[in-house]
């Protein structure tokens, strides 16, 4: 029996790559926007392509914001990808005035103008000591906004693109990736597999 992964539909985000990625990692992905299913799922992925404001509006309207906060607070296996990672925070310069999930203090800021924006391509992650899921290696990024401060209480991997930014952050069964693990070759595949092995009882 393969592990079922619930992938949250966040509006217009293209999910084909995420779904294919989790199938390659050996899981059975399932797309949902049902609060009950997301509350009951063992593993939930919050993907995110598109704008911060539109994604939050969608999550609030579908009644998913509270359900996701509940999962995060109880350390239930949850992975947030790209914009999904930024949604964990309070705000973003992308859509000023819109409140994020607010689980982690801080806000996403625009990448500096001296470098190419969006950051499109492979960048080398340096994982800090104590990371259990995140390792060193190259991953694929596609972002214009970023988190530039390590959130306290989380173990992080970082990359440099004009500034040093959070590439990935982990705490217990929670994992946020600014890059796209589903597009990051063997590095991403191994990371997805490690996260799939996290279990609620480790909470």
């Amino acid at each position: 029996m393969t592990l079922r992964v619930h992938v949250v539909r966040t509006g217009l985000a293209n999910l084909a790559s995420v779904l294919a990625g989790f199938r390659r990692a050996g899981a059975t992905p399932y797309v949902t926007e049902s609060p009950e299913e997301i509350a009951g799922a063992t593993h939930v992925v919050l993907p995110g392509v598109g704008a911060f404001g539109a994604a939050m509006e969608h999550l609030e309207r579908q009644g998913l914001a509270d359900v996701l906060r509940g999962r995060l607070e109880r350390n239930r296996p949850t992975m947030a990808v790209c914009l999904g990672l930024q949604l964990l925070f309070e705000q973003s310069e992308e859509t000023p005035g819109v409140r994020g999930l607010g689980f982690v203090p801080g806000r996403a800021r625009r990448l500096p103008a001296e470098v190419r924006v969006p950051q499109l391509g492979w960048n080398r992650i340096e994982a800090e000591q104590g990371c259990r899921l995140i390792g060193d290696g190259y991953a694929y990024f596609a972002n214009s906004f970023c988190i530039d401060t390590r959130p306290p209480g989380w173990k992080c991997g970082t990359v440099e693109h004009g500034i040093r930014l959070v590439a990935a952050m982990e705490r217990g069964n929670l994992l946020g990736c600014q890059f796209h693990p589903e597009l990051s070759g063997a590095y991403g595949l191994e990371l997805m597999k490690r996260w799939l092995q996290t279990k609620e009882e480790n909470a």
Binding site: L12, N14, A16, S17, A20, G21, R23, R24, V49, G50, A51, A113, V115, R116, V117, P118, Q119, L120, G121, W122, N123, R124, Y138, Y140, F141, A142, N143, S144, V159, E160, H161, H180, E182, L183, S184, G185, A186, G188, L189
Partner: protein
């Protein structure tokens, strides 16, 4: 820092990879899934799939090809060729493209770029900018469309700035004077465009050897795209990346 990308390009027609100079005298070059997988294994940083089908039936096949490639490929996939509307873009993205390239449609109606950027994000809106030297001797380059057959009179550098204003997240720059000629990229054009915009620029058209690719990166390109250099198995992607890294380019090895 983010590394320079090496991107093999597959021209696809009716579910098969084809090759030919300027789309004349097309020859069968293999299965898109098998070739994509082989390039990923060699170390390709991304794949571009260009649909060169001439018919609506062929376009339908392209969506199916994207689906097949996506299921297997674990690196980014850009798809272009014949994208005219937001609906075309949506169909390709839903099938598994991570980015879509627009060319002619963007020139005729730049709002298509804005539509793709607004609906799906700038990071997946690639504008394919085909340029050729102006014929009136005034210097500079103009935008060309319809596989290089139609000259638009639009200044290529101004157009590059404009597509970024409209929301393009990346420019795929092809020199139509050089495409298929194996004489190297148009470095002057590359320098001018990459200085004019802040989004990443992919160099395309004219590469015959690793030195050409290195020159493009040194001229300011963020990525290099090539087809025949890989298909003819003259060099593997891995050999080329090693050469570029030894030449001082930031490369994922």
């Amino acid at each position: 820092m983010v590394t320079n990308r090496v991107i093999p390009c597959l021209d696809c027609r009716d579910g098969r990879v084809v090759k030919g100079v300027r789309f004349q005298g097309l020859r069968d070059a293999g299965d898109p899934v098998e070739l994509s997988m082989a390039y990923e294994k060699q170390g390709a940083d991304e794949m571009v799939l260009l649909d060169v089908s001439a018919t609506p039936e062929g376009r339908g096949t392209a969506v199916e090809t994207v689906r097949r490639v996506r299921e297997n490929l674990s690196i980014p996939l850009t798809v272009g060729g014949g994208v005219r509307t937001i609906e075309n873009a949506r169909a390709l993205l839903e099938a598994g493209a991570d980015k879509v390239g627009v060319n002619t449609a963007a020139v005729e109606n730049p709002e298509v770029i804005r539509g793709i950027a607004t609906n799906f994000g700038s990071q997946c809106a690639v504008v394919a900018l085909d340029a050729a030297h102006k014929e009136d001797g005034s210097g500079g380059w103009e935008v060309v469309t319809h596989s290089g057959t139609k000259r638009t009179g639009k200044d290529a550098i101004e157009w590059a700035r404009k597509v970024v204003e409209f929301g393009a997240g990346e420019i795929l720059l092809t020199s139509w004077d050089r495409d298929g000629t194996r004489s190297g990229y148009d470095l002057e054009l590359l320098r001018a465009v990459s200085q004019a915009v802040n989004v990443p620029v992919i160099a395309s058209g004219g590469a015959a050897n690793p030195q050409h690719l290195l020159e493009a990166l040194q001229a300011g390109a963020d990525a290099v795209l090539a087809a025949s250099i890989f298909h003819d198995s003259e060099y593997t992607v891995g050999e080329i990346k090693k050469f570029l890294a030894e030449g001082g380019a930031p490369i994922r090895l």
